[in-house]
Amino acid sequence: MADRILKSINTRGLKNAVRGSEYKKEALISYGILIGGYILLQLGAMTGLIGRNLQGQFVPICVYVSLAISLNLVVGISGELSLGHAGFMAVGAFTGAVVVRVLENGIGFAPLRLLIALLISAAMAALAGLIIGLPILGLRGDYLAIVTLAFGEIIKNFMNVIYFALDENGHLKFAFNHEIEGISNAGRVLTGPIGATGVTKIATFTYAAILTAFTLFVVLNIKNSKQGRAIMAIRDNRIAGESIGLNVKKYKLMAFVVSASLAGMAGCMFGQNFSTLAPAKFNFNTSVLILVFVVLGGIGNIWGGMIAAALLTILPEALRQFSDYRMLAYSIVLIGVMIATYNPTIKSRISAFWNKVNPFKNKDKDKGKKPKKTGKEAA
């Protein structure tokens, strides 16, 4: 037995040694939920089972699922509390709104415009993440929570005094803290507290779902990479991480900046789904809502957060018909999600079921593994 284990260690390098099978399981469940959910909603829309109102939520569902995934990179995987995810979303949303409008004359093909806007939004949000993270993430303690909270508020208020417009020649004009003179309503791009207006809404359910898949791909790959294991090791024990030569600041910053840029992309997609979008939308409540998805889904559990985000976005819409009982049903679902994602018994049932149907099952490996499962999750 022992030499067999040793052999299995020796044949695997550092790269794939750590929990390869668990990674596959997590990836399979996460992608499964995404693809299954996409097909289900598409079918529902096609057959008319899902009404117009709920169909209008398809893009926001994808966006919030994506935000839950990217926030999990910071909160779950890196173990830092961030209270400003909506801030990065705002950076992406308004960057995207400006970029799409500027490109409207030059690039007729909407998906290309959207793609360019997404990339620039990601870069801007990453820059914001870098500026915030650089001085903070080397410190010990919960400074990040305080600073991200402030950042969210600052971005929101900053956007309240930002004015962008296109003049009749198609030139972009900018003003700080006052309206731009001589601009027709159609030329307005960002108008202070009113926010983005005249958006052509080029986001579609399919594009949004692709973005969610991309976010999932990035986060799962980081989680399973050598860097990801360093990030999680530092979360588990910072001093031990330092003692084995990990650059704590670099890894924490990496998780934070990637998470910010993914949130920026989600924000960009979100902005392209509404004809107008006010900065007030990206307030503290939205940041907390995304955090609630992550917490309800089980911190660090990627697919748990996805389910929580999807359910809690669909629910208020779906429950509209039960007007009086809406909040009651909402809270029951909250509790239900929490039990399903936290409860070790249910978890081990799911895990046992998984082991039965697991297509990657490797008999040698699974034998010794099952009983340890619950103890580890609790830690």
Partner: protein, 236 residues
């Protein structure tokens, strides 16, 4: 022989607290050198300064004839210094095997297999428990894991901070036996201990630290016989 580590006149502060007041010492290749002293004397602080987690305001630290006083902490390990911090800092949620793999984070891929075998050879207890979640190991096993993990990076110099802390006498003996074996196998060791008797029995040379200063130095044997040390640290 050659000097592996030279610490020259370091002064370390925690804010206004002057924790290390001009300490100098050196460690030669193949030696076991121990720093002993009472609680709060500054032993851990000294090791942290060598591994770059704290900075000295004065003096210099040389490792293999190169100054490392300004080398960032995360580059110290790949230079060949491994620090096993006080208090069994293991990755609780990972298995024994994963902990050891993490120890090889900065190690060349082709050395990992060899180092892993070496660690299992030195710590047979770990070999029996490769798949066990590290948080469920006993205190002694956790200490062994922390030491094993530090060896995964092929250190020239291994710094151990109170490896015997909180262990039953029989385990203390085992740990010290392992320290001697590691040293025989070629690792230079800088050992910080409260258990002065054990430390002096294995050490080639020793330094006594008192409130941030070195008060005595000599071979392990000399210090074990010295009246001052006997009174202060060996119970008479």
């Amino acid at each position: 022989m050659g000097t592996v580590l030279t610490v020259k006149n370091i002064n370390v502060y925690y804010g206004a607290i002057h924790a290390i007041k001009g300490i100098s010492f050196d460690v030669n290749r193949g030696e076991i050198v121990t720093l002993i002293g009472a609680n709060g004397a500054g032993k851990s602080t000294t090791l942290h300064t060598v591994s770059g987690l704290l900075r000295s305001k004065t003096g210099d630290i040389e490792f293999l004839e190169e100054s490392i006083a300004h080398t960032p902490a995360h580059k110290i390990v790949s230079k060949g210094i491994s620090h096993v911090p006080e208090g069994r800092r293991i990755f609780q949620g990972m298995t024994v095997e994963e902990n050891l793999q993490m120890g090889a984070f900065v190690t060349k891929q082709d050395r990992i297999e060899h180092n892993l075998e070496y660690v299992y050879e030195q710590f047979p207890r770990l070999k029996e428990r490769t798949k066990q979640i590290a948080g469920t190991l006993s205190g002694g096993e956790q200490q062994m894991l922390a030491m094993g993990r530090a060896l995964m990076s092929d250190p020239e110099l291994l710094m151990l901070d109170e490896p015997s802390m909180g262990l039953a006498p029989i385990l203390v003996d085992q740990i010290f036996e392992i320290i001697k074996n590691l040293n025989k196998a070629g690792t230079t060791i800088l050992l910080v201990e409260q258990n002065a008797q054990m430390a002096l029995s294995v050490a080639d040379r020793a330094y006594v630290i008192e409130t941030g200063k070195i008060s005595l130095t000599g071979t392990g044997e000399e210090l074990a016989k010295s009246d001052e040390v006997r009174k202060a640290y060996l119970g008479g």
